[in-house]
Symmetry: C2
Subunit: 112 residues, 2 copies
């Protein structure tokens, strides 16, 4: 089991470091179903979760939303029929902080 | 007040008619904050709703989701901090049915 999903987010300010390319590769081994995508010039972690129907996708959206509120770190969540696409990144630093990898790992736990 | 928001969706099959360009212009007068966008080659109605924070955006997402379930017609809903972007279209006919304009008008009511 990954230990990433046992970590909590740390407070993050505009001076916090972006995760380096090398460190990204290491962290992604713990969350192999996530991809690094670039949107609006900022790297983000993205995964699409398949659900049975709209109601289950809505329920999963709420689980992710509740997790986000509990850590005060908020993703973009696209809710559609039978699927939910989650994107984690840290707008304040314009890319990926270690917190985002932690949240991705904890999102995986919600779907397990 | 528009009467569009008082209508219910009708059952829709693959032979159902797309709304014509002229009819779109007429219907859009009832829902002036919605735009017709084209995604993956299909016309969709899109509006972004501003909310105070993530929790309120999540609550609004649930209102729209519950409306969708009640009519068995499902949009794409993008939940982000302080905003929710809703897209209505009818995948079965590859574009916009009158149902989508009805759902857009009813979504406006949820935010009123």
């Amino acid at each position: 089991m990954s230990k990433l999903n046992e970590e909590s987010c740390e407070a993050c300010n505009a001076d916090a470091p972006l995760v380096s390319a090398d460190e990204q590769q290491t962290l992604l081994k713990d969350i192999p179903q996530w991809q690094v995508v670039t949107l609006d010039g900022e790297q983000q972690l993205q995964r699409t979760f398949k659900l049975k129907n709209f109601a289950e996708a809505q329920a999963f959206t709420n689980k992710v939303g509740d997790l986000a509120e509990s850590e005060d770190h908020h993703p973009a969540i696209l809710l559609e029929y039978g699927k939910v696409t989650v994107r984690w990144w840290t707008h304040k630093i314009g890319g990926l902080h270690r917190n985002d990898f932690i949240m991705a790992a904890r999102t995986d736990q919600l779907s397990a």
